[in-house]
């Protein structure tokens, strides 16, 4: 075990995958700058510098050209490489949407299974950090609507390492949405290689009164809420789906069957968010288990403002999650989460 940050764990997964398979390459803007250095030491190699470790043939520093970065990675993946695309800020991916949606998601299908596209796209969600509307997006729900992609949203260093490694090993395209507010989060992470299967939720907290499903950066907030509720005698179960596509229906359904109450915390916008999809699934498949209406705690349908005082009120936090849990338990406050 070593104490690793979330970002360090991302680096560890990439380093191990690159050491295990020389077809794995990294492609993206400023990838030579190496933001993963976590192992100390004086020289760049000591610090785990990727360029020193793997050389410029495999660490592909690109121009600012998202369309060809993603498209070339797709073409490379279709012909024998396993690229990891560092696509930086998540809102940059819109420049590559044609390649993502029309090529990466469709090529295997359109071509009757001739193509496999072993590709990972890392997308950083810098929300909550005063980066304003062009740098704060949480766009995973848009891509949940595109069959052909897989989507992971790790919320801890340990999960980040294991899920990213599974993503790199997968022969399907996977998008890894990283919540940057979590990049500095630290915990013990196994030193050895390990993989966390895609499509397997994690029960962070067991409980019996209410289920809280929390996604990505809301997991630590939900953890705080669940801890506070526990002190008040309310037993909340906290589930982190970890993978949104494929989504672990079973884990959520089993929990709701026991608790009968569901709160979903989702940092994406409210309309057609991941929370909306999970709500619909539970309403369709577990309606009889529900003792109260499902409550979504999401980001209201407005753009992200710059001023900290304006931005800070928008994302799901521990207080809003706790209030929502109390509401589904009939304990007030009566004000509804409708924004």
């Amino acid at each position: 075990m070593s104490i690793l940050s979330y970002l360090g764990a991302i680096g560890a997964a990439q380093r191990e995958a690159m050491q295990a398979d020389e077809d794995v390459i990294i492609i993206g803007e400023d990838v030579e700058a190496n933001v993963y250095g976590t192992t100390g030491g004086k020289s760049r190699a000591d610090k785990g510098d990727f360029l020193t470790l793997f050389g410029p043939n495999r660490i592909r520093n690109t121009p600012i050209s998202e369309e060809v970065i993603v498209g070339a990675a797709a073409g490379a993946a279709m012909t024998g490489l396993r690229p990891i695309v560092d696509l930086s800020y998540s809102s940059f991916m819109y420049l590559a949407f044609d390649q993502l949606v029309n090529q990466i998601a469709k090529n295997r299908y359109m071509f009757g299974g001739q193509a496999s596209i072993p590709l990972v796209i890392r997308s950083a969600m810098f929300y909550g950090l005063s980066t304003g509307a062009h740098h704060s997006d949480r766009p995973y729900p848009m891509l949940m609507n595109v069959p052909g992609l897989k989507i992971i949203t790790p919320a801890s260093p340990r999960d980040a390492k294991g899920l990213l490694r599974s993503a790199i090993d997968s022969n399907d395209p996977v998008i890894c949405f990283e919540a940057c507010p979590l990049w500095g989060m630290k915990e013990d992470v196994p030193d050895e290689e390990y993989r966390i299967p895609l499509g397997q939720a994690k029960t962070v907290f067991e409980g019996s009164d209410v289920t809280i499903v929390a996604i990505s950066g809301t997991v630590p907030e939900a953890w705080k809420a669940a801890t506070k509720l526990r002190k008040e005698g309310i037993s909340a179960e906290l589930i982190d789906p970890r993978t949104l596509v494929p989504l672990d229906h079973r884990a959520i359904m089993d929990s709701v069957a026991r608790t009968g109450r569901l709160v979903i915390a989702d940092p994406a916008h409210r309309t057609c968010g991941a929370a909306a999809e999970i709500s619909a699934i539970v309403a369709e498949e577990a309606f009889d288990s529900l003792k109260a209406p499902i409550v979504r705690v999401a980001t209201p349908d407005t753009q992200i403002p710059f001023a900290p005082v304006l931005e800070g009120q928008l994302y799901p936090n521990a207080k809003r999650i706790e209030d929502a849990a109390n509401r589904v338990l009939g304990l007030g406050p009566k004000e509804r989460e409708t924004q």
């Binding site: 077809d23 390459i25 043939n57 495999r58 592909r60 690109t62 121009p63 050209s65 369309e67 060809v68 970065i69 993603v70 498209g71 070339a72 990675a73 797709a74 073409g75 490379a76 993946a77 279709m78 012909t79 024998g80 490489l81 044609d98 390649q99 029309n102 090529q103 090529n107 295997r108 299908y109 359109m110 071509f111 009757g112 299974g113 001739q114 193509a115 496999s116 069959p147 052909g148 897989k150 997968s170 022969n171 399907d172 499509g199 494929p246």
Partner: protein, 328 residues
Amino acid sequence: MNIERETLLEMQRRMLRIRRFDERCSKLVKFGHIPGTVHTSIGQEAQVVGATVALGPEDYMTGNHRSHGHPIGKGSNLGPLMAELFGKATGVCGGKGGSLHLADFSVGSLGESGIVGSSIPIATGAALTAKVKGTGRVSLAFFGDGASNQGGLYESMNLASVWGLPVVFLCENNQYALSTPAHTVTAGVVAERAAGFDLPGVRVDDGQDVLKVYEAVRIAICRARAGEGPSLIEVMTYRFNEHSEGLRLGVDYRNADERDLWRSRDPIEIFRAWLIGNGVASATALDAMDEEVLAEVEAAVEFAEESPDPDAATAFRDLYTEPFGVTA
């Protein structure tokens, strides 16, 4: 230029295959045997075959909506291509791609694309694999004059140039983006845009002459294979049919004189005369070749007609290598 006799004859055979295949497709669309529509390469065979014959069998290629000529030119079997157009289970993509999305990985065809310009970055990526793994393979991106105004082309040319990728960007300039004359929407000369990316740009003014196209592409491929990086080639050509079969527009955007002029420059007739004039083949032998190709196309149609429809469940297959949910 010293080209082997077999190669010369193969050029004519592949041009004939494209012509007869697409002529047949045009009729089959009209009578509803092929669902949707098709975009024929009739008139552009020299531009296609000059390039695909210059590529090796291991080399990669991507294309666009004018999609049949590319895989045929690269050496695909006609049966599975025609069956794909019919939407049959035996189609090269199992009936899930259709005319617009033909792909035949067995001959290095990495896919045609219904989105104009969208496959250019894919070809660039195939060249990246060749470079990283040192395979010696070359990649070629076909795109039209319309796509020459898409940003992805310039991102691709820039990246390929700075990384020295073995890719050939081949602009099939048939002078119209659907109904829009290229000169009304395209500043300057496409081939000259290469200079801005520090790579060679060549314009083949007579794209109806297969040997002229072949020679230009051969040089670009040699350069790419030698590690000297990408090239841009613009080939001037003309499509004899409408943008897509069955399309009827309210205006005659190409006048009759222009059409007649280009029709008199039929690439298959031009090369036939050259082959005969240079003693490569007799008129009789070339007639026999045409008959063989016609029979091949008929056999492909028969194969398509007799093939079963895809099983309904296959609509859920081939999305993921590790399927889940409805795709499992």
